[in-house]
């Protein structure tokens, strides 16, 4: 990502950052610490001032944006580390597992993971029994090592 920096004599420094498309974010840092933040929707448009912050406010906002206080969980990539093992969620969909019982699917022998729960709609089946059938709309929750999880993922055709 390119950030353009220019000196503004008598004012301070100007930083410009490209956003999506032609949009550009412009930050003026004044010598007295004040920060003005502008947005320019496209190269031909005028910059609109979004807000102005003191040095202290800017530093706080900066650390919020950096994620110092809270890091969001990227829901597609949920991983809970348990030693070597991780817990993963898989949507079964129309795969070879659909309609099989857990005993028939025999995932522990075939790929190494254990099914610890099945989510079916709003309902969660914790610690499902061997005769529980896997259905197309299910999400199976499995625990296993990274390569085992990968093997299951391959099996499900993801």
């Amino acid at each position: 990502m390119t950030i353009y920096e220019t000196e503004v004599p008598g004012v301070g420094h100007k930083f410009e950052m490209d956003l999506d498309g032609d949009e550009r974010l412009v930050v003026i840092i004044h010598h007295d610490g004040k920060r003005d933040v502008y947005r320019r929707p496209d190269p031909d448009a005028d910059s609109e001032q979004l807000f102005s912050l003191t040095g202290k406010q800017a530093r706080q906002l900066g650390s919020i944006l950096e994620g110092a206080y809270f890091q969001p969980v990227e829901l597609d990539e949920v991983e809970v580390p348990l030693g070597d093992a991780i817990i993963e969620w898989y949507e079964v969909g129309e795969s070879e597992l659909t309609g099989q019982t857990l005993k028939e699917a025999n995932l522990r022998e075939r790929v190494g993971v254990s099914v610890i729960a099945i989510q079916r709609g709003d309902e969660t089946i914790p610690n499902p029994r061997p005769e529980t059938t896997i259905e197309a709309e299910d999400t199976v929750v499995t625990i296993g090592k990274r390569d085992e999880q990968q093997a299951l993922s391959d099996l499900l055709g993801e």
Binding site: T6, P9, V11, K14, Y38, R40, D46, S47, Q49
Partner: protein, 397 residues
């Protein structure tokens, strides 16, 4: 003693009042300070409805504070002078700046000659109409939000070029004014001035590390005293040897520009500069005899109209050099219309010279700066209507 204190008190109170009014009206404080000086000064009008207005005599304090104002204005010009920016963008800055210089300085020379002025007066008039006001222009850029737009590059680039040129110009003019008058003597004076300034510049360039360490002072108070003291001392010493104090201060500023002290100076010394600069503008007003404006009225009227247009033209060309759209190019011109502090610094040099130069040039400069600071600020505020009306015209052609 009491009289002196009263004089200073009145002067500062008048400035505060003038500044407040300017702020309310939404205009630059520079013309307000000058007008305040004219009103309360010893020259006519000296009274309104029988009430004496001669409340601020031009005393020693005002004179010296005004001189410190000039020194600090130029010091900051040097401080904010970015060698890095100049080097990284020198092609465009040189092209845009040269266009700006040739058109506006050239027009100043033409005007001076057309009105039958002496060569020295012509040199002064050309400088006064050429140089835009960094103070008013930058402030307007921020207020309009243009500072975040591409036209800020062409406007600030042109200002950078003007800054160097004004340093050279002041150095030459100071030597000429202080010189003996003979062409050969003038040449010697100019050469000597450049030798002294070259020495200061060389020291400034190579002393960065030393300045960095020397001004690593423990308290803010010592820091301000150190910076202002050094600058005033070097400027004063330069003046004592017949070299422009303003240009010496400019180079002292450049010595600081490469150090980490810049932000601290902007923070702590800028208010000191603003204080003394305000007294400088007041003193210009105090020294102005408005009755002399009548002598230069025609020149003034023509200059105001012609040089407003010439900045629009030169700015538009500079904008095109920067590859800007027609609207932004025209804005470059509009942004550069305000003239202010540097035109007055040039005029102050003429005041010191004595003779007819000391009468005609300052009166012209004051009238011109008053007009151009107001015209410039209003043009910038109304820029959208101006570009809206003008841009379609040259897009069609």
């Amino acid at each position: 003693m009491a009289a002196g204190l009263l004089e200073v008190g009145v002067a500062i109170a008048v400035l505060a009042l003038a500044g407040l009014i300017a702020l309310r009206v939404g205009l630059s404080v520079i013309p307000a300070y000058i007008v305040a000086g004219i009103l309360v000064g010893p020259n006519p009008p000296t009274s309104v409805a029988g009430v004496s207005l001669q409340i601020v005599p031009t005393g020693e304090f005002v004179e010296i504070a005004a001189e410190i104002g000039i020194v600090l204005l130029l010091f900051f010009l040097g401080l904010e002078f970015s060698v890095g920016q100049l080097l990284s963008d020198w092609r465009r800055i040189t092209a845009a700046g040269t266009v700006d210089f040739l058109i506006n300085f050239g027009l100043g020379v033409a005007l001076g000659i057309a009105f039958g002025r002496t060569p020295l007066e012509v040199a002064f008039i050309a400088g006064i109409v050429y140089i835009s006001s960094s103070a008013i222009v930058t402030k307007s850029l921020i207020e309009q939000g243009w500072v975040a737009n591409p036209e800020a590059d062409s406007i600030l680039g042109t200002l950078v070029y003007e800054d160097i040129l004004i340093a050279v110009y002041l150095a030459v003019l100071t030597a000429v004014v202080g010189g003996a008058g003979e062409a050969s003597a003038v040449a010697v004076d100019v050469a000597r001035a450049f030798a002294v300034l070259g020495a200061i510049a060389a020291v400034a360039w190579y002393a960065t590390e030393y300045v960095e360490r020397a001004f690593d002072l423990p308290t803010d108070e010592l820091f301000v005293l150190g910076v202002v003291g050094t600058t005033t001392l070097i400027a004063g010493a330069a003046l004592a040897t017949g070299v422009s104090e303003a240009v010496a201060a400019f180079f002292v500023g450049t010595a600081f520009s490469q150090t980490d002290h810049v932000e601290k100076i902007e923070d702590l010394v800028a208010p000191v500069r603003d204080f003394f600069a305000a007294v400088f503008f007041l003193s210009i007003g105090l020294a102005t005899d408005v009755t002399l404006l009548a002598d230069v009225a025609l020149l003034l009227g023509v200059a105001v109209i012609a040089t407003t247009l010439s900045k629009l033209v030169s700015g538009t060309i500079s904008g095109r050099i920067y590859g800007l759209t027609p609207t932004r190019s025209l804005r470059t011109g509009i942004g550069l219309v305000p003239r202010g502090e540097f035109s007055l610094v040039i005029a102050a040099l003429a005041t010191g010279a004595g003779g007819t130069l000391a009468e005609v040039v300052p009166a012209f400069a004051v009238g011109y700066v008053l007009a151009m600071s107001v015209v410039g600020t209003v043009l910038i505020q109304e820029a959208d209507s101006v570009t809206g009306a003008l841009v379609p015209l040259f897009e069609r052609s």
